[in-house]
């Protein structure tokens, strides 16, 4: 599945750590929560970058204190309707201060992209190339949103206050 970042298809430079493997490969490695919990000491010694992949039933609250070890967090969207990771993303960005790459994985459709961006995701494992083409359109569909969220867009309320201050 293509990996979309900043509107471009990019190469996926992350390798998932195989199950039951003793050796940690070189470079950028993604681990599951279980792998992290079982092999924390070993993994902390890894001399490449670490990424973490969470299932939709795994809240990032569980690793909030360990986030400094990860350059990437990947959150799963197993079904279009499973929206838990939108909350997880906002918590990672706005509560736990995660500044690394936040990736949405699992068949992301074009119609989810705008919601995801507003929750703090910056890369997407998209379902197909159509999502890639549609990226710019999807980002441009709305010029303003009602809600303040972590991607630092001011909400309408704030804008209106700004507008009324200018007028008044």
């Amino acid at each position: 599945m293509p990996l979309l970042k900043d509107g471009e298809v990019v190469e996926n430079i992350w390798t998932p750590l195989a199950e039951d493997s003793d050796a940690v490969p070189e470079g950028n490695v993604i681990v599951t929560l279980e792998q992290w919990q079982d092999g924390r000491e070993r993994l902390r010694g890894h001399n490449g970058r670490l990424g973490l992949r969470l299932r939709s039933d795994q809240s990032p609250a569980q690793i909030a204190d360990d986030l400094q070890h990860f350059d990437l967090v990947a959150l799963e969207f197993p079904r279009f309707g499973d929206g838990r990771a939108y909350s997880y993303a906002r918590l990672l960005r706005e509560r736990y201060g995660f500044k690394g790459e936040l990736r949405a994985v699992g068949n992301v459709l074009r119609d989810q992209l705008a919601f995801m961006v507003r929750c703090g995701f910056d890369s997407f494992e998209v379902a197909n190339d159509k999502a890639v083409e549609a990226w710019r359109e999807a980002m441009a569909e709305f010029t303003q949103w009602y809600q303040p969220t972590g991607n630092s867009r001011a909400s309408l309320g704030a804008l209106r206050r700004g507008a009324s201050h200018k007028a008044g």
């Binding site: 939108y86 119609d111 359109e137 303003q144």
Partner: protein, 551 residues
Amino acid sequence: MYRYDEFDAAFVQQRVKQFRGQVKRRLSGELSEEEFRPLRLMNGLYLQLHAYMLRVAVPYGTLSSKQMRMLADIAEKYDRGYGHFTTRQNIQYNWPKLEDVPDILDDLASVEMHAIQTSGNCIRNVTADHFAGAAADEIEDPRVYAEIMRQWSSLHPEFSFLPRKFKIAITGAPNDRAAVRFHDIGLQIRRNEDGETGFEVIVGGGLGRTPVIGTTIRKFLPKQHLLSYLEAILRVYNQLGRRDNLYKARIKILVQQTGAEAFKDLVEDEWLQIKDGALTLPAEEIAHIETYFAPPAFETLDANQPAFEARRFEDRDFARWVRSNVTAHRAPGYACVTVSLKPEGEAPGDASAGQMRAVADLAERLSFDEIRVSHEQNLVLPHVKVTDLAEVWETLAAHGLGTPNVGLVSDIIACPGLDYCNLANARSIPVAQRITQRFSDLKRQHEIGDLKIKISGCINACGHHHVGHIGILGVDKKGEEFYQITLGGSADENAAVGKIIGPAFSYDDVVDAIDSIVATYLEQRREGERFNDTLARVGQAPFKEKLYAAA
């Protein structure tokens, strides 16, 4: 009422354009039905028994005459000349074509209306007291906050893929006409000891398969914290609500399984992290929205209107209509008129394009251009001068809208049922019609007095049968339509879920059963005693006895 500013207008137009693109991609094959379905649901477009069904949002049930006229135009141009007003204050069209829906949405956008989030697993229309801004017992107009919540919930990026639908209701009066205790979140405006107004927050109420009365998790929430508190509740729900079982995914199940106290702690813990943040409502923002809901320029009138009294004295039909369909207003010399959409022989809650226009004309001339949709599937003209009541009545009657039955036995709430709905097990509309026919004598209806019958065609309870004084639930028994009867439900501040009275009745027998129940009530009641009070006093036994006697 609220008027879109340039931001709101742009938002709706962009949403329509987005949906137009989604329809195009569906019709070109780029999107499969599985991919399109959640997208069309977020725009209120269902596939029902006979056709698509489009549910148009009427935010907190408030409409202008211009908007009502557009609803009439849409009914004629794109549908079959009528619409259905729902138990969540919205309107449904039963026959739109998919390819026409983007044009319908464009027409709606031109009058500041839309179909956003009237379906799907997202936050739905925030409903409110249909007498808001007019009722004599109101503390504050709840629609100010309904509008604030509407904006906050529109395409909320975090809460558009919830475990299940999410329904919020708000009332501004102690007499709860919005059924707040039966919503996922219910809000009741309260005054604290310092005289400030804020919200009682009630969570986890609902009807459906498992009716539950909501739990108060906060007795008094100051206004500026409304959105941050709601966000905390939704965030807890979005993370912890069940995703594995559609029938156990509502927040009421989460509250029950977690326990009310533990649930409250989860919410309050989350809220502590975000209160006083970006979602805090500054006083000026509330004041800005309040300006849209300022009371109209009521004239200073006498409460006593001799011409009206004389007419009422002479004209029995007028008097009867006033008694059932007219409610006291906060401004002397004014009244709230409920327009009955329950005439004999018609489907409850349906209105033709012609009827919609008649109501629009009356509203424009005689009700400060305001109309409300009540969750009991009637319309309301909220601000009518007492001296205009006779004219209003005559005009309504000429259009089949003057039946003097509001709150009475033929003012039945009925879901669309098996005649329209994919989910139904039995028909509900013809049962409502036959009950109305049985009680055709309006004099008798007035003698019986207030009696709420509510009918659902399946266990999803869209007809709110659990909270009817008499509730009727259609079930499928070996391919035949049968009806289970419950007694003693109530949607107001004395919230109660009705209890089953005994074995179900066939389609042929159910009307006799209702007749029997009403007869028992009349026999047993004391002077002025209402149905639920009689039931509470004598219990179900006398009702059962008569009902199941001649077996």
